[in-house]
């Protein structure tokens, strides 16, 4: 990894090198903050961007994606791959952690998802270390931090008049080198000068091992209590950076059609309803158990990292006001 230091104005000039990349940054639009294409001149001087309402997964795993077209009664046609190069600036370390979980599912486990792979190859993710904590976010209580690189290609630190860039992408390092007044190879991201990163001594949340969580799988009373106010909507899963469950549907127009991938949610009843009418997860307590354990037990099992980034979006949008931090504590308390 390369750690570069640039003067603030040089950094903005350096961004000019990425003209072939479309620049996306979080921008507020009414009550929502969305990743929007923008131009170099509109970038804020202090490089502060609000947290996006939806999670950054949309840029690599959109809610609707056409997989391929077909013509009925004739062999199938060519797939449609996204080729646009994007530079996404202004995301946060928790978004990058979410991208890491998605990468493990779509890229690192066989077979590779070619759509996600093409988009990931064409996208440069540059996050910015948080300068303030947002509503309900708790990454520091999970042992993660507002200054980690995680799955991003580079992270930017605010060093007042200068800008520190820790990059593990060859393209970024190459192009930024020319504008940096100092850069050196680093092995470990903690040796790097990060400026003042907000610290608060949060009460660490009791995170159990994947095995301990799995052992709770048949404790129906626990899941009943946790899921009792839940309404069974999908706003938490659709906004969550690490939720990657999807559905496949065909859409036709006369003799032609396409297969479309859209988001799906384990909180919906249809999700596991079998053709015979049998549903292994008939009520909300099984679905809540699936959602919680997928993040805190199965993803750590399969991918070795925590399936929750601590971004706090599910806490903010839940119409029933369920707070994941309190659920984590309740589960740990139940275990003892």
């Amino acid at each position: 990894m390369l750690f570069l230091k640039l003067k603030r104005e040089n950094f903005f000039q350096a961004l000019g090198e990425f003209s072939e990349y479309a620049l996306y940054v979080p921008r507020r639009e009414g009550e929502r903050v969305l990743l929007k294409e923008t131009s170099l001149q509109d970038l804020p001087e202090n490089l502060y961007f609000e947290r996006t309402t939806g999670s950054a997964k949309e840029i690599l795993f959109p809610q609707e994606e056409t997989l391929f077209y077909f013509k009925r009664y004739e062999p199938l046609e060519r797939p449609k791959l996204e080729d646009r190069k994007k530079l996404v600036l202004g995301l946060r370390p928790c978004d990058a952690h979410g991208i890491q979980v998605l990468e493990d599912n779509f890229l690192n486990l066989e077979p590779v998802d070619v759509y996600f792979k093409r988009r990931r190859e064409n996208t440069l993710l540059v996050t910015i270390a948080c300068s303030q904590f947002e509503d309900n976010c708790f990454c520091d209580s999970l042992g993660l931090g507002p200054d980690r690189l995680n799955g991003a290609d580079a992270i930017i630190y605010d060093l007042r008049e200068a800008v520190g860039v820790l990059s593990r992408s060859a393209i970024l390092s190459e192009k930024l080198k020319g504008y940096a007044f100092q850069f050196q190879e680093v092995e470990n991201e903690d040796q790097v000068e990060k400026g003042e990163v907000p610290r608060r001594d949060p009460e660490q949340l009791p995170i159990l091992s994947p095995e301990e969580y799995l052992a709770l799988i048949s404790e129906d009373k626990l899941w009943e209590k946790i899921s009792s106010p839940c309404l069974g909507c999908a706003s938490c899963t659709y906004l969550c950076p690490t939720c990657y469950c999807f559905d496949l549907q065909d859409v036709t127009y006369g003799p032609v059609g396409k297969r479309v991938r859209t988001y799906d949610s384990c909180m919906f009843g249809l999700y596991t309803l079998e053709a015979s009418g049998h549903n292994p997860r008939p009520t909300l307590k099984e679905r809540w158990r699936q959602r919680f354990l997928h993040k805190f037990s199965y993803i750590p099992f399969l991918e070795g990292i925590l399936g929750c980034t601590g971004c706090g979006r599910c806490i903010e949008v839940c119409p029933a006001g369920i707070d994941l931090r309190e659920v984590i504590k309740d589960v740990a308390k139940f275990k003892r």
Partner: protein
């Protein structure tokens, strides 16, 4: 836009309006061919989703016609339909949809001439309104793929 030939879907109730339309044909009343008729047991059977789905798939106008209040074969089907479709029509108007997109009528089994008149009026109304581009499903990519495939 004179050369525009609208596609109109008509839900006609089996006992009155469908018979009325049949009578119009038998009595050689001339009316434009733009109407595709779908027979329903009663105007009360028409679910507003039928109207939305027809427009969504590309219809330029939807007509629902049933027996005059009091003549319904099932006594109350058209009374329920009247309330239901009027609230639905007001909702579409408030949404900003062109009123020509959805029309409601009563045609009895003996009103062949009125049916022909209704269709002539309505087809002209939809022609003036122009093709339905504002409430139709997104299919540009599929259309392009269809043309390429040909």
């Amino acid at each position: 836009m004179e050369d525009f030939e609208p596609k109109i879907i008509a839900f006609l109730c089996n006992w009155c309006s469908y018979a009325g339309a049949d009578l119009a044909g038998v009595s050689r009343f001339q009316y434009p061919p733009n109407v595709r008729i779908i027979r329903v047991p009663c105007s009360g059977r028409v679910n507003p989703l039928f109207v939305l789905k027809a427009l969504y798939e590309g219809a330029d106008g939807v007509l629902v016609s049933g027996c005059h209040p009091g003549d319904c074969h099932y006594q109350s089907g058209n009374y329920y339909a009247r309330r239901r479709l009027e609230v639905f029509k007001n909702l579409l108007n408030f949404l900003g949809l062109n009123p020509a997109r959805f029309k409601m009528a009563w045609i009895s089994a003996s009103e062949g001439a009125q049916f022909a008149q209704l269709v002539r009026e309505y087809v002209q109304e939809v022609k003036d309104a122009g093709p339905n581009l504002e409430f139709v499903r997104e299919k540009a990519d599929l259309v392009r793929f269809l043309n390429e495939a040909r």
